[in-house]
């Protein structure tokens, strides 16, 4: 089975803040990590490979330093690593990103299964998985929480819904996005680490993937960010003071007859 896993390098979101004075992102000391959901996608791919044999290729579109996460993925069980990197990709929204990733994947071979994380924690869009499936003309399932079986090219799986779950069957080739509940990702193995150190990461440019320049980066992105700002709050409040007993009495009054 030829499995591709799309992984993204993201800043650790809990460290990101907007500086209220300059209105810019304060990123001092912010760590770059593999998008947490993508670790689960990778783990599921490696488990499928171990059970049914095949190869796992990790693909990332990003700046040159995204090579770090590709090597980390190899240390956790991926076989091949592809970095899709070019200045022309800058400013890509999800439409341009799915175009670029689809071109790159097709360039590398014929996928039986493509795995993505449910969403990336920087943009939180969850749009790249379904969009990529459309670009690849593949069936897809989002928010997969469990793969029950693979029988004769048909995956039996469960997808999370807001009010429960759906039990589904899909014939390969297909794409799926996964939630954290699907597995517990493994740590890098010693052998994996050695391999990751030595291996060559394939780097593909816009020209290498035969891309139409008009569909890349900013030029290929219908959406534009016009403003970023810190969330603001209404903040008109009444403080309830006094002794504990007085505070409780006032609260009870408010609750019995909410203003």
């Amino acid at each position: 089975m030829n499995i591709f896993v799309c992984i993204k390098q993201v800043p650790d979101a809990k460290d990101v803040r907007l500086d209220p004075k300059t209105n810019t992102l304060a990123r001092d000391g912010v760590q770059s990590i593999i998008n947490p959901y993508d670790r689960h996608a990778l783990e599921e791919a490696v488990r499928l490979k171990e059970k049914f044999s095949g190869t796992v290729t990790v693909v990332s579109m990003g700046p040159p330093q995204a090579e770090e996460i590709l090597r980390e993925a190899v240390s956790c069980g991926a076989d091949e690593a592809v970095l899709v990197s070019d200045r022309a990709f800058a400013g890509a929204d999800t439409l341009a990103t799915t175009y670029t990733l689809a071109q790159a994947i097709v360039k590398c071979g014929k996928p039986d299964l493509v795995l993505c994380g449910k969403q990336a924690i920087d943009g939180d869009t969850a749009q790249v998985g379904p969009g990529l499936a459309e670009r690849l003309d593949m069936a897809y399932v989002t928010c997969v929480r469990r793969i029950n079986d693979l029988v004769d090219d048909t995956l039996h799986l469960e997808r999370m819904m807001d009010d429960g779950y759906d039990v589904l069957e899909v014939k390969l080739p297909a794409l799926m996005t996964v939630v954290k509940e699907i597995n517990q990702p493994r740590l890098p193995s010693l052998k994996g680490k050695m391999k990751a150190k030595k291996m060559a990461v394939t780097v593909l440019s816009a020209a290498d993937i035969g891309a139409d320049i008009k569909q890349l980066g900013l030029a290929g992105s219908p959406t534009q960010v016009v403003r970023v700002f810190s969330p603001e709050f209404k903040g008109e409040r009444t403080m309830i003071t006094g002794t504990v007993s007085e505070q409780a009495t006032q609260l009870a009054e408010i609750l019995v007859e909410p203003a």
């Binding site: 979101a13 400013g91 929204d93 459309e134 429960g164 970023v228 403080m239």
Partner: protein, 398 residues
């Protein structure tokens, strides 16, 4: 590409200081851009001598946008009921449509409808497109996507909104990709730009730490998924008139490559949090699972739902379905009472639109007080028992 006019650049370094991505540096008195640049454009605005420039002319602006008119809402329907978010979308959609002076339409996909189309008209729709087919009984990305794509291509709405639910966030991205247009995920604010008439789509990003406003000026339709429980529905008005338009699709369009074996609703034994009028929430300040007994007791007296911060959920005091915030539920009750919650931004985004917020926290500087309607600085282990006692007395009298 970010263009730098080396003659105009005075090397002041404002761009370097403000760049969120560490992508621009002043080298030998002139700005230089590196591969980190995302072309966000904030430096272009900051540059006082206009030395920076982003060439956007490459985008195809020749498309005729005037052919696109009307606001559409995807009215999610599952397990025999219209999702509440559909009515919220009609509420905000009505405003947008009136401002643009166009019609508001709803799209209803499923099987065996009764009066759902009428409900959508009462909720604000001028037109309802109804596709009622056995093949649409269960949600599939293929069939639902195909029907919506075909309808959009035929009728050319300028704006398409859907709920940012599991279903909306699954199939709408495929629709947008197929139509080669932009899509903004999980919006919490929508408005029309009075100047260009474009849809201003505002959404939280970076785990809720930052808000971003996004436009899609050169492509149609402009598409957004919208977070449930943020927009307000209109008062249902059954005297409102509207048109119901049945939709027929070719059989191959309602075929799905994914087969639904069964669709399971998981019963929750708790009050449905998102629909409760009063919600009592507890955080790390409760110290342990026993602390949560106070929250449960208060909730029972007030017939309220029980919510929690992620810290309380992560500590195992209460299961995940009760979590409110960025990675949990969004709630909008009449009264939200939070006890021992600090008010981290990721929690606030899930409850800030509640009508009345009561915060109990012993730290007077806790950020929760910045969103509170009523603030109580004090120890919840002293205040809650007294409050519970008073409410018990009250409920005995009545």
């Amino acid at each position: 590409m970010l263009q730098i006019d080396k003659e105009a650049c005075i090397g002041c370094g404002v761009c370097e200081e403000n760049c969120a991505f560490d992508a621009i540096h002043v080298v030998d008195g002139v700005a230089e851009v590196n591969d980190n640049c995302t072309l966000c454009g904030s430096c272009v605005e900051d540059c006082e001598v206009e030395a920076l420039h982003i060439d956007k002319a490459e985008q195809d602006e020749t498309a005729d946008l005037s052919a696109w008119s009307g606001v559409w809402v995807y009215a999610e329907y599952r397990h025999g009921r219209i999702a509440p978010v559909a009515f919220e979308l009609l509420g905000v959609g009505r405003k947008l449509a009136d401002q643009r002076q166009v019609k508001l339409s709803a799209v209803l996909l499923g099987h065996d409808f009764t009066d759902e189309a009428e409900q959508l008209i009462a909720g604000g729709a001028d037109k309802v497109y109804v596709a009622d087919e056995p093949g649409l009984e269960y949600f599939t990305d293929d069939a639902y996507g195909n029907v919506l794509i075909d309808l959009i291509n035929e009728h050319k709405p300028e704006i398409v909104l859907a709920g940012a639910t599991a279903i909306g966030r699954s199939f709408i991205p495929r629709v947008a990709t197929s139509l080669k247009t932009g899509l903004t995920a999980d919006c919490t604010q929508l408005a029309i730009d009075p100047e260009g008439g474009n849809l201003l789509q505002t959404r939280p990003a970076w785990g809720g730490n930052i808000m971003a406003t996004i436009v899609c000026p050169n492509y149609r339709p402009q598409m957004s998924t919208v977070r449930p429980l943020v927009m307000k529905p209109l008062e249902a008005d059954s005297s409102r008139k509207g048109e119901i338009i049945p939709v027929k699709s070719a059989p191959e369009r309602i075929d799905s490559r994914v087969k639904v074996v069964r669709s399971v609703i998981e019963e929750s034994d708790q009050v449905n949090l998102t629909e409760a009028d009063v919600v009592v929430a507890g955080g790390r300040g409760l110290e342990n699972a026993e602390g949560f007994a106070l929250i449960n007791e208060l909730a029972e007296l007030l017939d309220a739902g029980v919510a929690a911060s992620r810290a309380a959920v992560d500590s195992g005091w209460i299961p995940y379905p009760h979590q409110v915030g960025q990675t949990g539920k969004t709630v909008c009750p009449k009264v939200y009472i939070c006890c021992g919650i600090s008010g981290a931004i990721q929690h606030l985004v899930g409850m800030q639109s509640s009508e009345v917020i009561i915060a109990i926290n012993r730290d007077p500087d806790a950020p929760i007080f910045s969103v509170a309607t009523y603030g109580v600085v004090g120890d919840l282990f002293e205040i809650l028992p007294e409050l519970i006692a008073r409410l018990r007395v009250h409920s005995k009298i009545n």
